[in-house]
């Protein structure tokens, strides 16, 4: 079940990541193996500290794996860092906008880093902001935007580069429930129109089942404890709440009872 397929778009093969914490070594991710195929949508859930963010950082090439192999579109994201430019994109938990740039300037940031010319990138950024309902806020500075609007700008910034692999780390958890619901709906609609492989971390079990084809349940230290094949289960007539129950069972198995149940599961 956990074997990494060689044809996958994203492939983790026995990946470990060690940090040294106050002198002694510590494994955030250990023997992590999974793969994601083209245009598949995968959710990662798991107790806090189970290495979800670390896995995404490895995927983006922001940290070097201690052992094992990470491949994204056939490339090593750490060693071949710049070759993945424009091909992977991330939506962070917080918007991380540049305060000195307007909404459209922020949305064009990714394209600018790729060397796209000024008028072209501003045009593309404007289109994405408009699609996300921010057409009349193009020239607004981040401090003039609400939290939900800021996250929309950050979504536009990432979507504008049209990454082949889109990664999101708790992209809605910093927002209040209503705003999160509306931003989530917008992103979902965008993803329905775009062919994009998506990997996202969430703390909401219903969100994972609604948005993903497959749910990976992580356990400490950074391993896939269980895979719930949402699409397959659905085709076999299972209801969403039955599938959610399977994800929850996976979380319980991983001894995460305290870790996850302790978290407010906002969408229950």
């Amino acid at each position: 079940m956990n074997a990494a397929s060689p044809t996958a778009l994203v492939r983790f093969d026995g990946v470990g990541k060690e940090f040294s914490k106050r002198g002694h070594r510590f494994r955030a991710v250990d023997e992590l193996t999974f793969s994601v195929h083209g245009s598949e949508r995968v959710a990662i859930v798991g107790e806090t500290g189970s290495g979800k963010s670390t896995a995404l950082n490895l995927l983006l090439g922001l940290t070097r794996p201690t052992d094992g192999e990470v491949r994204v579109i056939g490339l090593d994201p750490f060693a071949q860092f710049s070759e993945l430019a424009g091909r992977v994109g991330i939506i962070f938990q917080s918007a991380r906008l540049l305060d000195w740039r307007t909404a459209v300037g922020n949305a064009a940031f990714g394209l600018e880093m790729l060397g796209v010319g000024r008028s072209e990138r501003l045009g593309i950024a404007t289109d994405w902001l408009t699609r996300l309902g921010l057409g009349s806020f193009l020239e607004a500075y981040p401090h003039e935007l609400s939290g939900g609007m800021r996250q929309r700008v950050s979504i536009a910034r990432t979507m504008a580069i049209r990454p082949e692999v889109l990664v999101a780390d708790e992209a809605f958890s910093a927002l209040d429930e209503m705003t999160a619901a509306s931003v989530r709906a917008d992103l979902l609609a965008l993803l329905a129109e775009e062919e994009m492989t998506t990997i996202f971390v969430t703390h909401s079990v219903p969100e994972s089942v609604t948005l993903a084809d497959r749910v990976l349940v992580f356990t400490r230290p950074g391993q896939v404890r269980r895979v719930v094949d949402v699409r397959d289960l659905r085709s076999r007539g299972r209801s969403d709440s039955e599938i959610e129950e399977q994800v929850r069972a996976g979380l319980r198995d991983s001894g995460a009872g305290a870790g996850v149940a302790g978290r407010p599961d906002t969408h229950d």
Partner: protein, 281 residues
């Protein structure tokens, strides 16, 4: 790119139909009202001076009218005024040099812990050397008066630029650096688009501080061999026991500093236009 031209997703972007509220700026009236206490305080100081000029020797404390006519004489005579202008130009050149020189170690220290541990002690050491020591060194090392003055100004102000920049570079949030990496920003873009704008407020503050340091240091520097400049004029006034002239030069120097600060504030409000303008502060 046909997909891009589609209609907005959220039919009726419900939360925000109109665009941001216009930005508020302080009105001229508010500004004037705010400056009232300052004017009162300075007025009181002038009053005290005037009062003491009545009771004390006119050589020690010339009256305000005497000082005023000294100032008028300076401002209306280019041969005199040139001293002030030259001093101002020296300050600006010295500070620009110091900034260019100070930026480099500042940025390097901000990025590298290793470089920081070596350079920091040196900068603290240099910062602790009094301006007068630099004057002595400058006289021994250089012959040209302008070179001496520039050297003194640079040595007195560059460590401060470096330390300000270092702190600011280190203060750039890790989140934003990661953003740059995630979007594969080149080293240059990482610096130009993320670090530099983020440290601009600190750079402007360091300029505000160093304009003051520069004004104080330049007159000391001008005591050595400069035949033109406010420092030289102050020395002359002292040798002639002309307190009115000494006061006039001093006041003009302070006014020039205020002018520089005002220009700096204008630059700041242009460069930092993106900052939120609070209605209370």
């Amino acid at each position: 790119m046909s997909v891009l031209s589609r209609t907005p997703l959220s039919d009726g972007p419900t939360e925000f139909p109109t665009g941001p509220a216009p930005r508020r700026r302080m009105s001229v009236r508010d500004r004037l009202r705010r400056s009232v206490p300052g004017v009162i305080a300075l007025g009181a100081l002038a009053g005290l001076w005037q009062l003491s000029s009545v009771f004390l020797s006119p050589v020690a404390t010339p009256s305000l009218t005497e000082i005023w006519s000294s100032m008028q004489a300076i401002v209306t005579d280019w041969a005199q005024l040139e001293n002030l202008v030259r001093t101002g130009v020296r300050i600006l050149i010295g500070l620009l040099l110091a900034f260019a020189i100070g930026m480099v170690p500042g940025v390097l220290m901000g990025f590298s812990e290793g470089i920081r541990t070596y350079l920091r002690p040196i900068l603290y050491f240099v910062q602790g050397i009094p301006a007068l020591s630099w004057v002595v060194f400058a006289v021994l090392w250089f012959t040209d008066a302008e070179v001496r003055i520039a050297f003194i100004l640079v040595m007195v102000t560059f460590p401060n630029f470096s330390l300000f920049v270092e702190g600011a570079v280190r203060g750039v949030p890790q989140e934003l650096r990661e953003l740059g990496h995630a979007f594969r920003a080149s080293r240059w873009n990482q610096f130009r688009q993320i670090v530099l704008p983020a440290i601009t407020p600190a750079i402007l503050s360091s300029w505000a501080v160093n304009l003051g340091n520069g004004v104080r240091a330049v007159v000391v520097a001008e005591l050595v061999g400069a035949t033109v400049g406010v420092g030289n004029r102050l020395l002359l006034a002292q040798s002639l026991f002309n307190m009115a002239d000494a006061m006039a030069w001093t006041l003009l120097l302070v006014l020039m500093l205020l002018l520089f600060q005002t220009v700096l504030n204008l630059i700041e409000s242009r460069l930092l236009a993106w900052r939120p303008v609070g209605e209370r502060r």
